[in-house]
C-alpha cells in the first residue's frame, strides 16, 4: 500500500523547498481529508488523485517534500492535521471540503507565511486560495437528462443533509427538469444524513413506488441505499426503466448489476482538476492567494459523466445545447430552491 512508503523523517529534506522558490521549480503539496478518507469514491478521492497526478508529472515522491495527505478521524482533527502539514513545510496545504473552512481560517491566520487552499468554501485571507464549484450547473444538466429520459413523467431527488452545497444540487436539478420539460414532476426529499444507507434505500423505494423512474442523489453513503434499491428493482425486472444519477464522481461501478447497469450518468465535480491547477499556478509563482476560483461548466470543472450509452444521441445533443446556453450565460442556474 501507499501508506507504508510514507517517509518517517520529520525534518531535513523538505526544509528548504518553501523559501527557495526561484531555483527549484518543484513544489511540494499536501492535503487533509475529512472523515471520509482518500478513498471515499468522492471528492477526497478526486483530490488525492489530483495530487498524485501532479506529483507524478513533476517527478515528486510521496512524503515530505513531495506530496502527502492526512486523514481526519473527527472534525476536531482538521486543525491538527493542517498544522502538521504546514509545519512539514509543504508549499501548499489543501483543506478538502466545506467543513474544513473554520480550521483553514484559523491555521492560515496563525501561519501567514504558509499557503493554503480550500475546496468548496471561501476563506478570505491573502494566503488562502479558495475553490468553489457551480454544482447547480451540473445538476441542471442531470435534470435535463432526467426530464428527457423519464417515461413516467416523474423523477426524484434524494438529498443528504440540508446544507447549501446539497441545496445547490437540488436547485440545479429542479431547474434543469423545469427547463427541459415543465410537465415532469420532481419528488424531492432530504434524509438528514450522509451515512444512513437504509434511509436512502427506503426513500428511493418510496420514490420508485410512487412512479418516479429516475432518481438523482446527492447524499454520500446514504446514496448507496439508492443504488441498492434501484439494483434490486432492476434485478427483479430487467425490463424496468429504473435509473440512478450519481454524484461527485463517476458512480458507474455502483450501478452494476449482473450485465446491466442502473447508473444513467453522474454529476462530476472537477476537484482533481482544481487541485492540480492550484499546484501548477503555485509552481509558476502565481499562487492565487486571496482569490476564489469558481469552476462551472465553462471552466470544465463541472460536468456529466459518460453515460455509456444510457442516454441516446438525440438527448445528448439537447443536453449539449443547454450546456452551451449556460456557458454562454443565456441561462442563469439558481443556487437555491425558491
Amino acid at each position: 500500500g501507499s501508506e507504508e512508503d510514507t517517509s518517517t523523517e520529520n525534518t531535513g529534506n523538505g526544509g528548504d523547498s518553501g523559501e527557495a522558490t526561484e531555483e527549484s521549480s518543484n513544489i511540494s503539496v499536501a492535503m487533509v481529508t475529512d472523515v471520509g478518507g482518500i478513498d471515499d469514491k468522492s471528492f477526497n478521492q478526486s483530490a488525492w488523485e489530483g495530487l498524485q497526478k501532479f506529483g507524478e508529472e513533476n517527478g515528486l515522491e510521496e512524503g515530505d517534500g513531495g506530496y502527502a495527505y492526512l486523514t481526519s478521524t473527527s472534525d476536531a482533527d482538521y486543525t491538527t492535521n493542517l498544522n502538521n502539514l504546514a509545519r512539514r513545510d509543504f508549499d501548499v496545504v489543501y483543506g478538502i471540503g466545506a467543513l474544513m473552512q473554520g480550521a483553514v481560517e484559523e491555521i492560515a491566520s496563525q501561519q501567514e507565511e504558509q499557503q493554503f487552499a480550500i475546496i468548496d468554501e471561501v476563506v478570505e485571507l491573502p494566503n488562502v486560495a479558495s475553490v468553489m464549484f457551480k454544482e447547480q450547473e451540473g445538476a441542471f444538466l442531470a435534470g435535463v437528462a432526467a426530464a428527457l429520459m423519464t417515461e413516467t413523467g416523474k423523477v426524484g431527488f434524494v438529498g443528504g443533509m440540508e446544507i447549501p452545497v446539497i441545496e445547490r444540487f437540488e436547485a440545479g436539478f429542479k431547474a434543469g427538469v423545469e427547463a427541459a420539460d415543465p410537465s415532469v414532476e420532481v419528488d424531492s426529499q432530504y434524509t438528514g444524513a450522509f451515512d444512513k444507507a437504509e434511509l436512502g434505500k427506503t426513500t428511493a423505494n418510496r420514490m420508485y413506488s410512487g412512479g418516479a423512474d429516475i432518481v438523482f442523489h446527492a447524499a454520500g453513503g446514504t446514496g448507496n441505499g439508492v443504488f441498492t434499491e434501484a439494483k434490486e428493482r432492476k434485478e427483479a425486472d430487467p425490463e424496468a426503466n429504473i435509473w440512478v444519477i450519481g454524484v461527485d464522481a463517476d458512480q458507474y461501478d455502483e450501478g452494476q448489476i449482473g450485465d446491466q447497469n442502473v447508473t444513467m450518468t453522474s454529476v462530476l465535480k472537477g476537484v482533481e482538476m482544481a487541485v492540480i491547477e492550484i499546484a501548477e499556478k503555485t509552481q509558476a509563482g502565481e499562487f492565487p492567494g486571496g482569490e476564489t476560483t469558481v469552476y462551472g461548466l465553462a471552466e470544465d470543472g463541472i460536468g456529466l459523466a459518460d453515460s455509456r450509452g444510457a442516454i441516446p444521441e438525440d438527448v445528448m445533443t439537447q443536453i449539449e445545447d443547454f450546456k452551451q446556453q449556460i456557458i454562454d450565460g443565456e441561462i442563469e442556474v439558481p443556487e437555491t430552491v425558491e
Partner: protein, 348 residues
C-alpha cells in the same frame, strides 16, 4: 500487597497489556511497533503544540466521562451524553454569536446556556424514568437522534440556510492567548480548568453533600431510600439533570474553545459514547475520570500521528484502547494474578 497498590497496578498493567497486544498486531502486519509507539509518543508529547492539543482533546472527555459516571453512581445508565453534549454545543455557540456582551457576562452566559440545554436533555429521560418507569437507556438513545436532527435544523435557521454559524464573539471565547503562545498556537483553552473544576464539583456533590448521599443511596437501593424518607423520583430526575449539565458543558468546550462555532453534523461526535468508556475506565469516580479521560484523550489524539510519522493506520490505537478497557474491566483476574504472585513471593 496493599489494596491501594493493587488498585494502582491494575490500570498500569492493563495499559501495558494493551500496548503489548497492539505491538503484536503491528509485528504481525509487518509494521515496526517501535516506530509506531515512538510516533504515538510524539503525537502526544512530541512538542509544546501536541501537548497543548492533547490537553485540549482531554477536556471534553473529562466532562463526558463525568456525565456518564455521575449518572452511574445514581444507578442510571446515561447513553444520552452524546445528545446532551450536542445541544450544549449548539446552545453555547448560539449565545456566543447572537449577542456581544462584556466578557464577564457573555462567557458565563454562554456556559450557562450549555448547562441548561444539556440539563434539559437529561431532564426528559429522568422525568420519564421517574414518572413512568421508562427505561432510561432507550429514551437517551432516542434523545441522541433528536438532538442531532434538531440542532442541525436550528443551525440552518440561525445561519440563514448555511451549515455552520458564524464564529462566536471574542467575548464568549474560552481561547487563551497565554496558552496559545505557550503551546505554539495549539487550541488549548481555559475550558480545561472548567473541566477540572467540574471534577471537583462532582467529587464534592458525591462526597460532601446530603444530595450526594441521597443519590448514592438511590443508586444502590431505591426501597431503602424511600424508607429513609428520600424522594426517589426527585433524585432520579436530579441525577439525570446534573449528568446532562456536565455533558452540556462538554459541548460548550467545543463551542467556545476548540471550534468557536457549531456546524451541521452528519453524525454523532462520538465524544459522548467515548465518555462511557472514560467513566468506566475510571470506575465512575471523579479522580478515575481524570485518569480515563487523560488516557483516552492522549491515545486518541496521539494516534493521529501514527499514519503521519510511521505510516500505521490509526485503528491500531483504537484496538489498543479497546484492549486496555477490556483488561481494566477484568481487573479481578489481574488482582487474582497479583495476589498469587505475592503469595508465591511470601512463600519463598
Amino acid at each position: 500487597m496493599s489494596n491501594r497498590a493493587t488498585n494502582l497496578l491494575v490500570p498500569i498493567i492493563s495499559v501495558l497489556l494493551g500496548l503489548l497486544v497492539g505491538a503484536i498486531i503491528m509485528v504481525v502486519s509487518g509494521y515496526s511497533p517501535i516506530e509506531g509507539y515512538v510516533a504515538l509518543w510524539n503525537g502526544i508529547f512530541g512538542d509544546l503544540y501536541t501537548i497543548g492539543e492533547t490537553l485540549r482533546q482531554i477536556t471534553p472527555y473529562l466532562l463526558a466521562g463525568l456525565a456518564v459516571a455521575f449518572a452511574f453512581r445514581s444507578g442510571l445508565f446515561n447513553i444520552g451524553v452524546e445528545g446532551q453534549l450536542i445541544v450544549g454545543w449548539f446552545a453555547a455557540a448560539y449565545v456566543g454569536v447572537a449577542v456581544e456582551l462584556p466578557k464577564i457576562i457573555h462567557l458565563p452566559l454562554a456556559l450557562l446556556a450549555a448547562v441548561v440545554a444539556g440539563a434539559l436533555w437529561g431532564f426528559v429521560p429522568g422525568l420519564l424514568k421517574a414518572k413512568f418507569r421508562v427505561h432510561e437507556v432507550i429514551v437517551t438513545i432516542m434523545m441522541n437522534y433528536i438532538a442531532l436532527h434538531t440542532t442541525n435544523a436550528l443551525i440552518r435557521t440561525v445561519s440563514g440556510g448555511g451549515d455552520r454559524t458564524e464564529s462566536i464573539f471574542e467575548s464568549a471565547s474560552l481561547r487563551s492567548e497565554f496558552f496559545q503562545n505557550l503551546t505554539d498556537f495549539s487550541r488549548l483553552h481555559y475550558g480545561i480548568f472548567i473541566a477540572l473544576a467540574m471534577v471537583a464539583v462532582m467529587w464534592f456533590i458525591l462526597e460532601k453533600t446530603t444530595l450526594g448521599f441521597e443519590l448514592k443511596a438511590v443508586g444502590f437501593n431505591q426501597n431503602a431510600s424511600e424508607y429513609a424518607g428520600m424522594n426517589v423520583n426527585k433524585n432520579i430526575i436530579l441525577a439525570m439533570v446534573i449528568s446532562g449539565a456536565f455533558a452540556g458543558l462538554g459541548g460548550a468546550m467545543e463551542a467556545l474553545g476548540t471550534f468557536e462555532y457549531v456546524s451541521s453534523k452528519g453524525g454523532f461526535t462520538g465524544i459522548g459514547f467515548d465518555g462511557i468508556a472514560v467513566a468506566l475506565l475510571g470506575m465512575n469516580t471523579p479522580l478515575g475520570v481524570v485518569f480515563g479521560a487523560s488516557l483516552f484523550g492522549s491515545l486518541k489524539y496521539g494516534a493521529l500521528n501514527m499514519p503521519n510519522e510511521a505510516g500505521i493506520p490509526v485503528e491500531i490505537v483504537e484496538i489498543v484502547i479497546a484492549v486496555i478497557i477490556f483488561f481494566v474491566a477484568s481487573g479481578y483476574i489481574i488482582r487474582l494474578f497479583l495476589l498469587r504472585a505475592a503469595n508465591k513471593k511470601e512463600a519463598k
